[in-house]
Symmetry: C2
């Protein structure tokens, strides 16, 4: 934590000072939007976007490498630079946007013309994502899902030792707002029947957080647990859309494939680890009967403050609700701090065999559920595998998603005495599938 | 098949006319080597490499887009162009290198200075691989491996319906010749024991073929089975190194992860589908009790000639054998035509849910085993899960790979009346792991 996190700081961009803003001057998330000359890196401030390329001259005390990265069309060149550079840029941006800076009036005069209303902006994917890995770090999710398929042993023996993860499909990661076509695939009408090739009937969302890798590691060189945090650039919201019927049929023995690879939606703003500093908390306590993390995953500082206290919410609005001009309803609320593994443990485990991570790689947390029933992070859990449909306000029920349903994920960090840090939203609407 | 495949064609590059060459004028595989001005696309011909960038002026009757792609530093820009362009380039290259072409003398004078001895060349990865997918298309491999873990049901019920695959890790795909460090990870000394973090004790190779995607497909638009072949650019050899002890412990429920992501080795030359035309054969016949492919995977032309008759071999040379100047010994020989699924079926299935493939994506076949015991494509199968070690000529035995072992994969197509088409070799030597 440093001055950039100080709750007293206000911005001369007055919308950033409203209590309900997601993007106060303490946040300063990065994204890529359509600027005057094509894709441009921007920083969200209140309801505005500051065009970093356009105002590069005001960043000038910073090293040339940072200025160059700010002129790129993706965040990857900035991610490569490493934590000291990210922090230097954050400090400079905070000073430039701070209402009480000695040169605030001059800053405002110089920058005001480089602000774009967020409501008018077209966003692009923030980074070129070379590798997308999805973890399974919520023990509550693993236990809930396992109980449907293995009631006698919901958690497999490896769960408490291994931060379970698998390689996802990077090419089909799409940005919030893009429609999601219901996938077609092999589905069984009943257990033991012949598969049919048909649109999925059990389409689900999964609320996750995505961690963007900043600096990578060379092939063959693992990242030690106490250095893992320095490799993380920031976070976004992530919806790991899942076709449960395709998944149940295809996933043995090599894991999920077409059940997930049709689309993964991410939010456009990457909230940096610097902005999240005030919300780092102790890792979830392990019950006495659980084994301690193996030494390569065990670190006192990481256990003390490696988790992130972030509230996550899932909202749904059906076509009928939209037509009736009803608002979305909240389906669940959960918290990232309930994960069994910290982000540093996920990154260290990923590299422990020598696997090289690269700038822009995306690590999904896995569905974030929690111990309470309102914490369930997907419909599979929420409806008890479809047995207990959710009631919607327009008189509908949902076991799984219907065409026209919009899912909106939200995430934010709150702590008394600190500015609220939001992640914005991550939304997607289901289009009908075609065989 | 066309004139470029004609067995009567000889090249004025005389090494291409030797009966044992892998790269006759009928082959013309593409790779990327270190040319005078950095990475350059080359074509293998006999024991030489023709530098395509250096001789672009001689390709000039071709459209400018092809010439531009030939001047790139990876094959991706050529892959994007599509099958008609690949064929036009192949025809032109065949004519330029053909000994009996009316302008052969002029071609030779113009091109000779752009030939580089293959023995002196440094190769690079042929393409930027955005997505790497590994399939499991050998039913013999699936049955052999399944029998160790589920003797009562070696093949799972989905196998004969679903071309099983999973997302691999693209960042750790390395080129033939690069050393492979033994991975460290969670291993169990005995079933039910606590895991230790230690170097893998059950390191294995898997012989596979990699299919390079040429043209991709937009997200949401599946590729029909009869169009799938046109998306395939060519093939290479692929060694899917696997740490069996890490794999056994980590793979439930989401599939292999760190057991594979430490390294995957590919050969440098991409043999095009055009060169393989004479070796296309009928898909493996399905036993009468097997279900027919579902309609989206079923095509008469694909069943008639969608498979590839390609011999694959695994050779091993231990450190002791190298010190004793002994040659590598062959561990197994198998054939790609024994796969249960054709390359077109793999590609169509991959896109059937709408997943977008991109130029340069790599699709691994999965371990190619076959019905006979000499066809087993990995040590796990060859040694019956380590129970029947292989004898080596220097008095050693192998259950799994030891440090210093070099694995060399070879592949070639032979058919009476046609020129032999080789894939070159794919090698890697095991380095010791470090915790």
């Amino acid at each position: 934590m440093d001055d950039t996190n100080h709750p007293g700081r206000q911005s001369w961009v007055t919308s950033a000072n409203r209590p309900d803003t997601e993007f106060p001057v303490q946040n300063l998330p990065f994204g890529v939007f359509r600027g005057a000359g094509g894709p441009s890196i921007g920083v969200a401030i209140g309801n505005q976007i500051l065009d970093l390329r356009a105002c590069a001259n005001l960043l000038e005390p910073l090293p040339a490498g940072i200025l160059e990265a700010c002129g790129a069309t993706t965040l990857n060149p900035l991610m490569v630079l490493g934590r000291e550079c990210w922090q230097a840029l954050r400090t400079r941006l905070s000073d430039l946007l701070w209402a009480d800076h000695p040169q605030a009036a001059a800053h405002q005069r110089a920058l005001e013309s480089h602000l774009v209303a967020m409501a008018d902006a077209t966003m692009f994917k923030p980074a070129e994502i070379g590798g997308y890995t999805d973890f399974y770090a919520s023990i509550d999710h693993a236990r809930n899902v396992g109980s449907f398929f293995r009631p006698e042993m919901p958690l497999l023996p490896n769960y408490r030792y291994v931060p379970i993860g698998y390689n996802g499909r990077a090419s089909s990661v799409v940005l919030s707002g893009e429609p999601v076509r219901r996938p077609v695939g092999q589905v069984l009408s009943s257990p033991g029947s012949e598969p049919q090739f048909a649109p999925s009937r059990r389409l689900d969302y999964e609320i996750e957080v995505g961690f963007f890798v900043g600096t990578g590691n060379p092939l063959g060189e693992a990242v030690a647990i106490d250095r893992a945090g320095a490799h993380l650039f920031g976070v976004c919201l992530l919806n790991d859309w899942s076709a449960r019927d395709l998944q149940a049929w295809e996933y043995q023995p090599l894991g999920p494939f077409l059940a997930k690879s049709f689309a993964t939606t991410i939010s456009p703003w990457v909230v940096t680890m610097g902005a999240l500093a005030p919300f780092r908390v102790a890792a979830r306590a392990r019950p006495a009967e659980d084994p301690p993390p193996l030494p390569y995953l065990d670190s006192e500082p990481d256990q003390q403050e490696g988790a992130i206290d972030m509230t996550l919410e899932v909202h749904l609005r059906s076509l009928r609700m939209r037509e009736a001009q009803m608002k979305a309803i909240r389906l669940s609320r959960t918290n990232l701090r309930t994960l069994y593994w910290t982000p540093a443990q996920l990154l260290t485990h990923h590299t422990s065999n020598g696997c090289n991570l690269e700038p822009g790689d995306l690590l999904g947390s896995g569905t974030v559920s929690g111990p309470a029933s309102e914490n369930r992070g997907c419909l599979l859990e929420l409806t008890q595998n479809g047995r207990e449909p959710v009631m919607l306000p327009a008189g509908e029920t949902r076991s799984f998603l219907e065409d026209g349903d919009e899912i909106i994920l939200r995430g934010y960090c709150e702590r008394p005495g600190f500015a609220r840090i939001g992640l914005g939203e991550c939304s997607g609407t289901i289009q009908s599938g075609r065989a």
